[in-house]
């Protein structure tokens, strides 16, 4: 399977997603200020959320900046902790009309805005690997449909196949300008107690990899108030969320989907 997916690139020893995203991350290190110092904050920040989530694969396994820096390279510049988990399992959420949802036992969550954008061309020809990726236009479409601005977002659930994916996605949505990620992530902004919680289940880096449904179902459950010890609000010294932004992307940053959800 890995060999088939790699096509003729296998002749050059190029396989799989780690190296594809690592190529993007390396170019980003050259184009703007980023690298392990930035990505370390994403890996350790999300791990703090995982340690509040008994269902997370990495529950009970704290990760320090030193652990991150001392872990070996898989495909440089990516270390082990830059990469998502490999998981068996499943996630689902049920979609119905608002009218019907109001009559159900659980608190429903509304879809405010959706946007997709797919730059699409193969990774060798990519001129978007350091942004803007599909996140920029997909985000603009979703914000437009929702009729809100980025200032109204209370938390984010970002597709985090790799740490760099979180950085470039938040950057393209407009949370910070290119290269300002290292400063933005500092002081634990995405962590429990932070101003902009990100990937509050631990995400795919530290909870489980269920493709786009890891972020989406976490957003739904947070807005429903079903997240126990990791629940956004007073329990985690964060704002009780009204609106959560979710992302999903595919291939090597070649497709992007943005969803904005809110509490009913």
């Amino acid at each position: 399977m890995l060999l088939e997916d790699a096509g003729d690139q296998a002749a050059f020893g190029h396989f799989g997603a780690v190296a594809g995203y690592a190529l993007a991350a390396r170019r980003a290190m050259y184009t703007f200020q980023t690298g392990p110092e930035t990505w370390q904050q994403i890996a350790t920040g999300q791990r703090k959320w995982a340690n509040l989530n008994p269902d997370a694969t990495m529950y009970g396994k704290p990760l320090t900046p030193e652990d991150y820096m001392l872990s070996g390279y898989l495909v440089e510049p990516f270390r082990r902790y830059d990469c998502c988990l490999i998981s068996d399992g499943g996630r689902a959420c049920i979609i119905t009309s608002t009218e019907r949802a109001r009559d159900l036992k659980q608190n429903p969550v509304l879809i405010m805005g959706l946007g997709q954008h797919n730059p699409s061309s193969a990774i060798e020809q990519s001129d978007f690997m350091t942004g803007p990726t599909g996140a920029k236009i997909a985000g603009q479409k979703a914000f437009g449909m929702a009729g809100i601005t980025i200032d109204e977002i209370d938390a984010c659930q970002i597709y985090d196949c790799f740490t760099y994916t979180v950085e470039i996605t938040l950057q393209d949505y407009g949370f910070f300008r290119p290269g300002e990620g290292e400063d933005w992530f500092r002081e634990g902004i995405i962590e429990p107690g932070g101003r902009m919680p990100v990937n509050t289940s631990g995400g795919q880096l530290s909870e489980a990899y269920f493709m786009g449904l890891t972020p989406l179902t976490e957003a739904v459950m947070q807005l429903m108030g079903r997240c126990g010890t990791r629940q956004l609000g007073p329990e985690t010294n964060t704002k009780k969320p009204e609106i959560i932004l979710c992302s999903d992307n595919g291939a090597t940053l070649q497709t992007h989907s943005c969803s904005i959800l809110r509490r009913l």
């Binding site: 002749a11 690592a22 050259y30």
Partner: protein
């Protein structure tokens, strides 16, 4: 010694490319209508959808757009090469091509450094276009 690494698998689109590689010629399709030099090979131009094209030979000169260093072998035959470099080369003629940087310590590679083509004859059927730091 038998060559154990994966081989290219020519398709109707890529057959000519690999055949020319065997002759140590790195060739690309150039659109006869808009002039776009494309990779990978295809029936129609991705820019203007023209089906008319000619074959051009690349100078083999370009720069490193980006690169990674494999520290883990995802196929056993690459184990002995670790650490090895995979890079996207931006060729002078326009296309970006994924290959290896050889004859160079991973610490010496950087984005936008100049590289030149070097051929690796791997068996009777295939030669792989690889790149090394430019000599001038």
């Amino acid at each position: 010694m038998t060559y154990k690494k994966p081989l290219p698998n020519p398709t109707p689109d890529t057959r000519t490319f690999w055949k020319q590689c065997k002759n140590h010629r790195l060739t690309f399709q150039k659109c006869n209508d808009c002039g776009h030099v494309r990779w990978p090979p295809a029936l129609i131009c991705p820019r203007c959808h023209s089906v008319s094209h000619e074959s051009i030979e690349s100078s083999g000169r370009g720069t490193v757009f980006t690169f990674v260093v494999y520290h883990q072998a995802f196929h056993p035959a690459f184990h002995e090469d670790l650490p090895y470099i995979v890079a996207i080369i931006k060729l002078k003629e326009g296309p970006q091509f994924l290959s290896n940087i050889v004859g160079c310590d991973p610490d010496q590679v950087s984005c936008d450094m100049s590289v030149e083509l070097v051929w690796e004859d791997i068996n009777e059927d295939f030669s792989l276009p690889k790149f090394q730091p430019a000599s001038r």
